[in-house]
Structure formats: structure tokens, C-alpha cells
Symmetry: D2
Subunit: 150 residues, 4 copies
């Protein structure tokens, strides 16, 4: 059943829910969903070679998060394992930005606990401004997404 939920996504990772991810409301803190979601996007980016630029990076161009939307569908609690599924929204690709759709699925609850939509911008971390999305990366993303659809 979880497989059905995940099958339209290109990249899926599994993460443990940690006890310390919960807050005083006794469920996983809202900000932790963004950590899970970030981890899913990073895994996707690594697949296409578009790494988040770090300070000592040779290549200054990497993705930066411009906007995120998270719909919390059900509370997560420890212990649990989640799948974070990520795909490109192909129709959203523009010269220097694109959107990703994600779901977070609880193995314990056997359901989607959050739906995430993230808009990323290709960013030059040295010049501190947006940059055109490298053509090679765009192609890799499209090929990966098409393979998924087939």
C-alpha cells in the first residue's frame, strides 16, 4: 500500500523518526517535516549531480529554496519510519527555477502525513544571485522523470 503511494515519485528515501524530533505537543515538531523534506530533495539532487553548494565548493551554482508549502495531514510520533518521496514537477521548469512535489509517508500509519511543494532557484553562491539552471542538469532531470513515468 505504501508502494502505491510512492510509485509516482522519482526518488524515495527512508528515515527513522527520532524521539527527539517530537516537541512538547507530543508529536513530531512542524519544523522537522522540513528537515525530512530537505533530506528528500538533497537525495534527489545528488542523483542528478546538482549538489547544494557549500562554502569551499569549486562550483558555485546550486539550488536554493525559494518557497515551501507543507500541508500537515496527520501527526507523526516516535517510533516510526517514514518514506520521503520526491519528484520534479516537469511543467514548472523555468529558466532558473523549478518546483518539486513531495510526500512524507508514515510506515506505522500507512498513510501520507504531509504533502510538500517546494520551489527551488538555481543560485550562484559566490555572486549571491540567481543563475540560469545548467542545461545538462535540466536534461538529467527530465530524463529521470520520463523514465519514472514510463
Amino acid at each position: 500500500m505504501i508502494q502505491d503511494l510512492l510509485k509516482s515519485y522519482t526518488s524515495v528515501i527512508e528515515l527513522p523518526v527520532l524521539w527527539g524530533d517530537m516537541d512538547a505537543a507530543l508529536h513530531v515538531n512542524n519544523a522537522m517535516y522540513l528537515r525530512y523534506s530537505e533530506s528528500g530533495r538533497i537525495a534527489y539532487m545528488e542523483k542528478i549531480g546538482f549538489r547544494v553548494a557549500v562554502g569551499n565548493s569549486q562550483d558555485p551554482i546550486g539550488p536554493i529554496l525559494a518557497e515551501i508549502n507543507c500541508r500537515y495531514k496527520a501527526p507523526l510520533t516516535y517510533p516510526d519510519t517514514i518514506s520521503v518521496a520526491t519528484r520534479l514537477q516537469v511543467e514548472t521548469i523555468e529558466e532558473s527555477s523549478f518546483e518539486m512535489a513531495q510526500i512524507i509517508v508514515s510506515h506505522k500509519l500507512q498513510r501520507v502525513v504531509a504533502e510538500v511543494r517546494a520551489r527551488l532557484v538555481s543560485y550562484n553562491y559566490q555572486l549571491l544571485k540567481k543563475a540560469p539552471l545548467p542545461e545538462a542538469l535540466k536534461e538529467k532531470m527530465l530524463i529521470m522523470e520520463e523514465r519514472q513515468i514510463d
Copy 2:
């Protein structure tokens, strides 16, 4: 100038940006904006007496976050101090939910670094389901917002 940015908001708190809030991209991590935003909403909630229910709470009804949208306008870096400004969006009040608008303002950059929109649902933490928004709280919120507008 910061005062101008904040003046249409009902509740404003100041927070320090911590060095440890930054990630390997050398600016404040995207999930930390949700921690800042949460802190602003909590401060607002305390003003109207609508506390996040904790496990040992007498009153099981409290707000739960149903959806959040965050637009990242500029990277934050340590050291900095931010103002997190929060208001109710009066027109969004429904029987058991309402939306809040927030901005995060950098004192160093003298500008808005993030715009947040959060939808909260009145939630019964014992029954684990939504509950009507207590009438007294709704009134307090409206009074507080009107006073702000005047």
C-alpha cells in the same frame, strides 16, 4: 524603517540568530525559519490565552498547525537579530480554523527575509480531532486585531 514593516502586525518578538542555526550552505537553514515562525505564533497565542496543549494539560484544546507556506526572500546569516511579526488574518476565521500572516525581518539587512502564512486548526489533543474554536478566544483575537488596526 523596521518599525514601518512591523506596524500592521499585532504581535512582534525579537530573536537572536544563532551561529548553529546556519547549515553547510553558510546561511540559516530553511527549517529554522519555521522555528522562528512557530515562536512568533506561540507568543501571539499566549496573548490570547490559547496555549499549545501539552501532555499534562487540563485543557485538551489547543491550536495545531495544518498548513504552512514560507517564502524565503533573502538569506539570513549569523550574527543578526530578527523580528518575527504575527497577525491574524481576520477574514479567514472559520468554525475551527484561522490563518495567520507573519513576516521575519532582519535587523542587519533592514528588510523582510521571509513571509509566512500558517493555517491553524483548533484541535482536541485528547480526542485527536479538530474542535470548534472556543468563542472566548475568537473574541479576544478579534479585539486584539481591531485595536491594532485603529
Copy 3:
């Protein structure tokens, strides 16, 4: 080789290192080691049925962390997987406290990246004061540790 490092520990969990666990020094933040270590202790506690008391708990007695010591032996970076290995230090058991020894092992580096020593106190979360360690738990811990040694 990792198996050799872990074999004297009673409870071992595996955790992924997340990109977001790193800070602006480009390695995993020092405080995250305490999250990993906490997760290891919680797993151990669950094995013996000594759960961290949460607000709505029937049983108010649970462990509380009184002191921790962490020796950082090597920097962790994303991507990596770690094993967190935990054991009771049998000789440290007192009426209401005991110490646990832990190591964090990097699969990528094939070495111990941190050594942790934690002193826990049996705590009554309702009365907010320490409580004698329940006899049944003490026995379970000792049995589990002996089995490990054999």
C-alpha cells in the same frame, strides 16, 4: 571491522546522517551528536521497558539525563550512516542512578567518531524529583548486560 567495535555493546541502532545535521563548519554540528546519543539511549530504554515519561504518561517514573560527556574523535559529514552503540556500565548502578557508555561509529570512516558517557537518574516526572530505580528494571538491565557479556 565495525562489528568488532560494536560487539561489547548491548544495543545498537543505525541512523542516517542528514545533510541538515551539518553546520557552517561543514561537518555535523556538535549538538547533533547528543541527538544521536539520545536516540541510542532511548532504544536501549525501550528494550527494558523504561520509557521516557511523557506528559500524559500513566507511569510518572522515567530516566532523566543528569550529566553527559562527549569526546569528539573525528568529524562526521553527509552522506554517512552511523551506528550508535549503548551499554549499561554495570558497576555504576546506584539506588537511583546509573551510567551508560556509548560509541558513535561512522560507516564511511570505519571508525569511532565519538565516545559518550551519560549519567541517568530515575526521576518522578510528576513530583519533579528523583525516585528509586524500579527493582524490576534494574534486573532486566542486568540480565540484558550479562547475556551480552556471555
Copy 4:
């Protein structure tokens, strides 16, 4: 009274306790004390010009945390404000390392809630190995500490 607790420390910062710093045990999570403590050390380091090296830093030498010990004396809860007080332990200075002593003081509880001891090593972040503590920094630290004692 808080002033008395702090007076033997060279550098003191104030931080708000955030609601989200608490965990499901309904008090501030143990790992957050290390975030507070880190923030105190960073503030001290900035006073003497010994900044944590970040990826794009010109100067590759900065402090790295080698060992930390934290004694939790009392639980912190939101809302509260803390003072984090930091000093060098002059007698611990060696060629490439030194120790710092810290206390975390709760304004609400009017008492020390944690005692921290941290050993830092002067580290070359490019060569990934320890480096002699720059002489100019050692002098600045000593001058700052002496002034405090006088």
C-alpha cells in the same frame, strides 16, 4: 543574584528559551543545552577574533570542539530567558588546546541550570588537523581574562 552567579565569567550572552526547544518530556531537550553553550563560546571567540572557520574562509585556522561535559542541574521550560556565561580556564592552555568553563543560568528559576566544560582544539580546517594556537589569540584571551579577574 544572577549577577553574582555570572561575575566570574568573561563573556555573557542572553538567549530566549523557545517553545520548540522543549521535547516530549516537557522540558528543554538535552541537546539544546549544547546549542546554548555553543552560542556562548562563539560570542567569546568573536571577542578575541578567533572565529569558527567556515568553508569560504581566508583563514583556515579556527577552534574545533574536542570534548564537552554538561551537568544538568535543573530542567528548563518555556517561557524563560537564560544567560550563558563563558570563561577560559587559564591553567588549561596548551600548545594547541584550551578549556572553557560555562554556566547556563535561568532567569525564571534564578539559578544555574547547567554547568559546561568544553575542550577546544586549534584546528586547520583546510588540512583537517590540529594547529598551534596562534600566539596573538592566546595573548588576547589572557588579557581579557586578567581584566575580568581584576
